[in-house]
């Protein structure tokens, strides 16, 4: 039943795409497309959430007679797929709702409207796919539709390059997954997931599959060092699509990884957990450091996706390490933490991209250095963005903290792992995770403080007005979810229990049994957390203090000019900027990580030219990894280019030479 409902929703989304092409010149097409997407996503969300919570309609399969003639297209709704479909369709619902208002400002709606529902349908199909062929073709469909959306504003500087790099990385990713599935299916070509699940892999093949999956799914998710396309492509798309790409599509990539490595590959080797941990830790810290150096609001958010994907992969890596050592309880804890963070990140990252979209429509600016003081013109957007900022910085009582707390708890259990390498690696990764959490807080003080607080740094920021009701509804719904998942995490953990059970054959203790909504990952004597109590306590203590003071001490307020140590300067240019805010952290970490260098031109006294400062940052990964590849490809292409201009004699020589060479090889081979 559930699968049929889902397919009707997907069909409605797919049918909307050509309809949007047909009606692209009409004004109501926008409302039509987003309304259909909203209704379809909401129905799909309700269906999968119901299926996940009640266990009804799970493990249902569906076979459509399309695709490979002897295979058909298999689809299946199991707990893992249902959990990720909740994320996909929650993101879809909110993005459609937001799009109803935000889409009004789209200059070329014909470049967005047809692809938006198709993109949503593609993500749904990937998660539902139950054979390799369907998985890969829907994966590619998802990539191409999102690529079209990235290219929606193709005339803006840099977007064409972003689309090009995205296309290259997406092709590389799909190729890796294709090879990975080829290895999984073996020589007999059993492409159905059920067949793959029952195939035993030799350890060499398993490690090759792991490497290829890390490359394929990791490049889509934005794992360092495969993240280079992400901060270019995600911000280039319209903001509700950025939210979908960052909040949801990266999660579909995580789904691909979990499906292959946890489900299809069979029991993992212990070192596979270590490899995943290493990539996760590197992504977490490098992502947030890049974000701190960034002054473009949307690109900052995109880099934070890299960070959060790192946190998710840390959880998954721990899960693999525990599962390989048959430590079922800790494996369940680590995997739950990762999956909970998948949900949490999709919620607050969508919220933050929506907020940046509202700022973009109100001011036309993404550069934080030209914003400031928006809290006065856009109070509601500012409030929602603040909630998202606190949540992503892993601060209690919001949801980001709970999943990171669970990850920390999993790290603390891993002292029991027997392998020495893991014993060294895990505390180091724990340190990286703690570092990334602290840096994320610094980064979001910058993002919120420079954008929304202070004084306006430009005329457009001065005149910014609040965004529309649809966008605000979507943002506040997500902000509410941030709080709800933060104060009542037990329900979410329990909802994930069947998923985790399917992945590592164990689950966390049922949280509903603990009093007062306390969550207990392992045992009450070991650790517990109660977000609800903390939230209530903070609220009560703050209100009590405010009430007592206002009632019995003083409540008078006198407005005056800022004090600023007696030397207030009227110019907003004297405020701290995003660049100056990040400068101390750049000095601490940047010299090593980015080879940051400051170049200061100070004209001599009497010279009227302005002083200038340039900051040079190097992306060492790009220089070390991608630049050589690009160079080799360029040189090879130049060389091969000569072959286009041979004479007919030259071509004939080439052909006969190739023939002789092949025959010689054949003769030697036999």
């Amino acid at each position: 039943m559930a699968v049929e409902v889902l397919f009707w929703c997907i069909a409605a989304l797919l049918a909307t795409a050509p309809a949007a092409v047909a009606g692209v010149r009409r004004a109501w097409t926008r409302i039509f497309v987003y309304a259909i997407a909203l209704v379809a996503s909401t129905i799909a969300l309700a269906t999968v959430a119901w299926a996940l919570l009640t266990d009804a309609g799970l493990a249902q399969t569906l076979r459509l007679p399309i695709g490979l003639p002897w295979l058909g297209a298999h689809f299946r709704l199991d707990p893992l797929a249902a959990a990720f479909l909740v994320v996909v369709n929650l993101g879809g619902t909110m993005a459609s709702l937001y799009g109803l208002g935000y889409g009004r400002h789209e200059a070329e709606p014909g470049r967005v409207l047809p692809f938006f529902p198709a993109f949503l349908a593609g993500m749904n199909l990937v998660v539902l796919a139950d054979d390799a062929f369907t998985f890969l073709s829907t994966w590619e469909f998802m990539s191409l539709t999102s690529w079209a959306l990235v290219m929606a504003h193709h005339r803006q500087a840099g977007n064409a390059r972003a689309g090009y790099i995205y296309l290259l990385m997406a092709s590389l990713g799909t190729l890796s997954l294709l090879l990975s599935f080829g290895l999984l299916a073996g020589p007999d070509g059993g492409y159905a997931f059920d067949t793959i699940r029952h195939t035993q892999l030799s350890s060499t093949v398993a490690s090759a599959v792991l490497a290829l999956t890390l490359l394929g799914a990791g490049s889509k998710a934005g794992l360092v060092p495969l993240h280079v396309w992400l901060p270019l492509a995600h911000p280039a798309a319209p903001s509700h699509v950025s939210a979908l790409m960052s909040g949801v599509m990266t999660k579909v990539a995580v789904y691909g990884f979990v499906r292959i490595v946890f489900d299809l590959m069979g029991p993992p080797a212990w070192w596979s957990g270590g490899v995943v941990l290493l990539f996760g830790g590197a992504s977490a810290v490098l992502g947030v450091l890049h974000a701190l150096m960034e002054h473009d609001l949307k690109r900052l958010l995109a880099y934070h996706t890299v960070e959060n994907i790192g946190i998710i992969f840390i959880g998954l890596g721990l899960g693999l390490a525990f599962a390989a050592n048959d430590m079922r309880g800790p494996a369940a804890l680590a995997t739950t933490a990762a999956l909970f963070h998948v949900f949490n990140h999709s919620v607050f990252k969508s919220l933050l991209f929506f907020g940046s979209g509202a700022v973009l429509t109100a001011t036309g600016e993404r550069n934080m250095e030209r914003l400031g003081g928006l809290i006065h013109g856009m109070p509601f957007t500012a409030f929602a963005f603040l909630i998202g900022s606190v949540a992503i910085s892993a601060l209690p009582p919001f949801n980001g903290f709970v999943s990171e707390w669970l990850t920390f708890q999993a790290i603390l259990v891993s002292a029991q792992l027997p392998q020495w390498l893991l014993k060294f690696l895990v505390p180091a990764v724990g340190g990286l995770l703690a570092l990334s959490a602290a840096l994320a807080a610094a980064c979001f003080v910058k993002a919120f403080g420079i954008t929304f607080l202070g004084r306006p740094r430009s005329g457009v920021a001065q005149d910014a007005r609040e965004t529309d009701t649809f966008s605000l509804t979507a943002m506040f719904a997500l902000a509410f979810l941030c709080l709800a998942a933060g104060v009542l995490p037990g329900y979410f953990i329990d909802a994930l229990a069947p998923v985790v059970q399917g992945l590592v054959s164990a689950q966390m203790p049922p949280q509903a049994t603990f009093a007062w909504f306390t969550i207990v990952p392992i045992a009450e004597s070991r650790s517990s957390y109660n977000g609800l109590l903390l939230f209530v306590l903070i609220a009560v203590a703050a209100s009590l203090a405010a009430y007592v003071i206002h009632r019995w001490a003083s409540h008078a307020i006198r407005r005056s000019a800022p004090w600023d140590c007696g030397f207030p300067d009227a110019s907003p240019a004297t405020q701290y900027t995003a660049g100056s805010f990040a400068q101390p952290i750049r000095r601490v970490f940047g010299t090593a990580v980015f080879r940051a260098r400051e170049e200061i031109h100070m004209p001599p006294p009497g010279d009227a030219r302005p002083a200038r400062m340039h900051v040079h940052l190097h992306d060492l990964l790009w220089d070390a990894l991608y630049a050589p590849i690009a160079k080799v490809v360029g040189v090879t292409a130049d060389f091969l280019n000569r072959m286009q201009f041979l004479t007919i004699r030259g071509y004939l020589t080439l052909v006969s030479g190739a023939l002789v060479a092949l025959l010689v090889i054949l003769a030697v081979w036999q």
Partner: protein
């Protein structure tokens, strides 16, 4: 009966930390003054200051937003809740299961987040410099503190501070290198987080190296009073954490009767007095360091914490 006792202890502790915190600040100031052969203000001067500030008008910058006005109360509340989770004179607090050591660190992080935002709100250069430096310091101090929390909880098998205190009182502790490193690291973090010399100077204004004071420069009246109270609470909290984790003797346990508190309360006050005295001596003996030397100082704390945790990871098979 046990629940009522826990609740009473919890309530008593909530009030105790609130009442004791300004006294601790006054005491540290007094000791510092005496070490400099000054008379120094009365021990109860901080109470007088708070009382006076609370009754004064708030002078608010024209462009201050609601964040600026809400922040003091949020900072105060989160710090107070964090302090309420630390066992001071007795374990077995009613709220103890609500948050462990990691949650306490994160609650302090929430307070700092709001304080840094408040520093940016009015849009002055001093506020910005304070916020920016505070977050730089926190970006190293917080992971260091978390690594120390890891060390303690790996030893005690629990991240709950009550359990850590109980374990440290027990016979299985022994002398460990990890504990020594964690203690040194924790003291370094506590100095940095409470804006003490050599990282920051709580007694200066109009100095380019100030951090905490720069953020709260625009605050006045009751807002300033609440923030000052929160700062005192934070100092008390750190001394209490050091006390309950590293010198746990005298902390009453959950199963003991009320008579035990007659001993544990004075012992706690003595611990605070010793801690405050050592802090004052240390502050008087060292010079303030340049702000870009602070990362080296805190980097050392982070490495100590990491090493302490790493040693436990490789040496233990629990």
């Amino acid at each position: 009966m046990a629940i009522i006792q826990d609740a009473l202890v919890q309530l008593g502790q909530l009030l105790l930390v609130l009442l004791l915190a300004p006294l601790l600040t006054g005491y540290v100031r007094k000791v510092k003054a005496r070490l400099l052969r000054r008379q120094g203000p009365d021990l109860i001067q901080p109470y007088r200051d708070l009382h006076k500030l609370l009754r004064k008008d708030v002078v608010l910058a024209d462009n201050a937003s609601w964040v600026f006005r809400v922040a003091p109360y949020v900072i105060f509340a989160t710090t107070w809740v964090a302090a309420a989770l630390v066992p001071t004179f007795a374990t077995g607090l009613a709220f103890s299961p609500a948050g462990d050591l990691i949650a306490i660190v994160a609650l302090l992080g929430s307070a700092r987040f709001m304080l840094a935002l408040a520093g940016l709100d009015v849009g002055t250069s001093f506020g910005g410099i304070g916020s920016s430096r505070e977050m730089m310091i926190a970006s190293l101090a917080e992971p260091a503190l978390l690594m120390i929390a890891f060390t303690l909880s790996l030893l005690a098998g629990s991240t709950q501070l009550s359990a850590v205190a109980t374990f440290m009182q027990g016979p299985d502790v022994g002398l460990r290198v990890s504990l020594a490193m964690a203690l040194v690291g924790l003291v370094m973090v506590a100095i940095a987080e409470n804006a003490r010399i050599p990282v920051d100077n709580p007694a200066t204004h109009l100095e380019l190296t100030m951090v905490h004071e720069a953020m709260i420069l625009e605050y006045s009246g009751r807002h300033l009073a609440v923030i000052e109270a929160a700062a005192s609470l934070k100092l008390l909290l750190y001394l209490s954490v050091i006390g309950c984790a590293f010198i746990p003797w005298g902390v009453a346990n959950a199963d003991q009767d009320l008579a035990a508190y007659a001993v544990s309360l004075p012992v706690y006050v003595i611990k605070l007095a010793v801690g405050g005295f050592l802090l004052a001596v240390f502050e008087t003996a060292v010079a303030k360091m340049r702000v870009f030397r602070v990362p080296d100082f805190l980097g050392a704390a982070l490495m100590l914490g990491l090493l302490a945790a790493l040693l436990l990871f490789v040496s233990r098979n629990v």
